[in-house]
Amino acid sequence: MRRDDGGRIDRSRVLRFRFDGQEYTGHPGDTLASALLANSVRRVATSVRLGRPRGVFAAGGEEPNAVVQIEEPFPEPMLPATTVELYDGLVASSLAGQGRLAAGPDPARYDAVHAHCDVLVVGAGPAGLAAARAAAATGARVILADDQPEPGGSLLGTRDEVDGVPGADWAAATAAHLEERPEVRVLRRTTVFGYYDDNYLVAVERRTNHLGAAAPAHMARERIWRIRARRVVLATGAHERPIAFAGNDLPGVMLAGAARTYATRYGVLPGRRAVVFAANDGAYAAALDLADAGLDVAAVVDPRPAPGELWAARLRERGVELLSGHVVTAARGDGQVSSVEVSPVSSVSSGGVSSIDADLLLVSGGWNPVVHLYSQSGGTLRHDEAIGTLVPDASTQAVEAAGAARGVFALPGCLADGTGAGARAASASAPARPVDVPRAEEPPEAAPLAYWLVPAADYAGHFVDLQRDVTVADVRRATGAGLRSVEHVKRYTTAGTAHDQGKTSGLLTSAVVAHALGVPVAELGTTTFRAPYQPVSFAALAGRDRGALHDPVRVTALHEWHVANGALFENVGQWKRPWYYPRPGEDMEAAVLRECAAAREGVAAMDASTLGKIDVIGPDAGEFLDRLYTNLMSSLKVGSIRYGVMCRPDGMVFDDGTVIRVADDHFLVTTTTGNAAAVLDWMEEWLQTEWPWLRVHLTSVTEQWATVALVGPGSREVLAGLAPGLAVGVDDFPFMTWREAEVAGVPARVCRISFSGELAFEINVTSWDGLRLWTAIMDTGLVTPYGTGTMHVLRAEKGYPIVGQDTDGTVTPHDLGMSWVVSKKKPDFVGKRSFSRADTMRADRKQLVGLLPEDPDVLLPEGTHLVATGTLPEPPVPMLGHVTSSYRSAALGRTFALALVRGGQGRHGERLYAPVGDALVPVTVTSHVLYDPEGARRDG
């Protein structure tokens, strides 16, 4: 229920929200959890495996129970109600372990920021604020990140004073002071969730989530911060830990510190009458604060023989019974706590139980430093016997933990610890500047007891992991089955694997394992913490890198024309290439057959600008290319062109293309479209690491040229019309030469090369002249535009392989039937030695062949396997190879395919079978050159 006053909520404004169909109200400053507790909603979830009712258990991101589905304004699954800031119009529902993703697209924006700083402080509690304050005083660049809407951390949930003012006021003033400094950035609602190499940390800032439907559309909903910090201070605080006893999962069982936070920060009493079960002094302070806030605290139950006299006296003052040397054996109730059973430690197993009426049972087994980021950074952890938990030990990066994050729990200690850590962190970047330690008081503490498990005969109702419904009985079943490692027990029981990643249950699991095995917890070692610390949405991680911005789109100088003329596009690498140009009523098959016929019988043109182009310039350019290509390039004459293949040192084909000699010291190399960057990298690598003495420079010029392939028996006539100054006759302009000429009034380099077997010219102009050239070609009215669909068919009919489609990194030039491109004269080139390896000389290597399906209408799917027999033998069926390319051919009047087949060059004329669905399609193996094998069409 809501207290009459108190709390950091704005009571002057009322927010309406719905939970499980019920209307409720709350105030700005509430979380969904505090608002539900204020409305006395005890059951907020149903457990995943056992279907048990569950209530709010914690007050922060460590919450294991109250995981809800947000329904409106935008569906979001699996959010802890303790981390959802209340807003007007929020609609949420309870879950039973699993949420639902939104069916529609997320309309929100997400973005990312890169930041650098001298000191990153994670956490704006007392230690973090003290650290940021001390670091900022030196003038260092400081980023302070905190996951809450306002700074203060634990100070928001207690009544402690700092420097003589309420802790929350001190926190607000300190943060305001920090924000005035130009070199300091304070990030609120920002969770640092990952700590990677070289002090690289990643955080998510929730910018508009708390505004609900009122969130401005132009603002990113969440922002990822990628921070590189010289030094890091982790002031991440501590999580309170539960104790295992019967019925410890009932709604009404809550962490003591969480209840104190609800009363102090949110002005909410999470019940009417409470029993506190704790083995540390901190919970006494919680009990006193709660009693002062109006909660009826019936008793404090403490297994320790006697707490400090100071605490005992304070409890007496408020009429709270102190049961030292006692434990809670069970929480009882139907759907929620109605009574608590208590027993002296000495007689837990022999009965002697008394019962106290209460609707709230507040537990505190002690505090676990939040060591997740420290562990992620590579820092090691050690078991601290005195506080019964893991603390940071040795760092491997420039990081230190401060305050509760390293086991210093008292407020004066946290403030001193933070101040020291902040000053040390800044000392790497700025001259030291002494800073006073903020003052606070804390009563002397008695030693805490690491108390985990109340002994019982039956452990089926002692819950360890509330979110996974794992009990002490489940853990003991695992150890009973012989498991000794906590990691194995985790996998066997699923403890610690839920949405909360065992933030409250992890060490309890270890303690229960240790108890079952009769060994100290410290002997069990530690588990490794991994990013992310809290769940992060994929939308936030993707940021702006989705949809059209997912990957750069590259278009050629002619792109607008293709779009205007109805081209459909194919993605090749990042390029948009025209695929085919359908006329009204045409499907792809009809369009490609028409375009193919135009290229073979008339004139057709393709935008070939995407082919990679690399200038190789320098006195040693020829020698450089001789070392990389399988054939000789240095002998190429200026004005001539040669086709070449590059292999990896293992002899496998890496890329192919034409090489033009522009001048004595200047070659222009073309690469396949998708491989252009890789070829340039490859050349740079050899030049820089193996042959640095060669005087050669490499420059990518792909974008500088627009290239048009003009193809077909009529292409000479069209070119002659466009380039009256160019002698285009077969004797004046022979195959594999190039000429400079004006084409369509534009200076051009015209190459006589062909990727179709037809008479063809490749016209290169600077890219800004590209559209003018292309338009002039099209304006002749004689030329059919064609795309990659047709290009693939034309080249396959001629048996020209496409690297990456007909090859896969296991294919040599010899396998492709291209022994002619491998020089026998050159003493060495990259790949040569491998051609005499036993494996590359095997006669049964997979080799490129043509395939003709017996039924000329059957189109084999690419990737289809090939077998020897018309009925399948028992598996394993010997596989002979697979189809790499498959098309309908206008020129052949039938379907055909290219394939890699074991010993294929010796199988011409053989019949093989291709399993397609349930059928075995008979095919005949042929040469891979199916069209014009004599090369008669090349000169037109």
Partner: protein, 92 residues
């Protein structure tokens, strides 16, 4: 993500770099003189130590230079970088 000190540009994000495997594996002087086994060693065999490893990196999205680095494969700490052709320094 590592912060890699390019010997030409200074410290830069790992995303700007391309990994190149073990350093100091030179292309053999005369491949034709090698046995199949020796050639296969050059092609396919690389060290995989736990500890300091001399390896190649290319600042492919920066100055595009290749260089060598001594990186501890267990801690990811980079003990030093040096240019192609320079001898491997002693790890500190």
């Amino acid at each position: 993500m590592l912060l890699i000190p390019c010997p030409w540009c200074g410290p830069r994000e790992e995303a700007e770099f391309h990994y190149g495997g073990q350093a100091h594996v030179a292309y053999p002087e005369d491949p034709a003189a090698l046995s199949d086994e020796e050639w296969a060693r050059y092609l396919f065999f690389r060290d995989n130590p736990k500890g300091v490893f001399a390896e190649r990196w290319s600042h492919s999205a920066g100055c595009r230079r290749w260089f060598n680095a001594l990186r501890d494969t267990a801690t990811n700490r980079i003990h030093g970088v040096y240019r192609v052709g320079e001898p491997r320094p002693v790890a500190s």
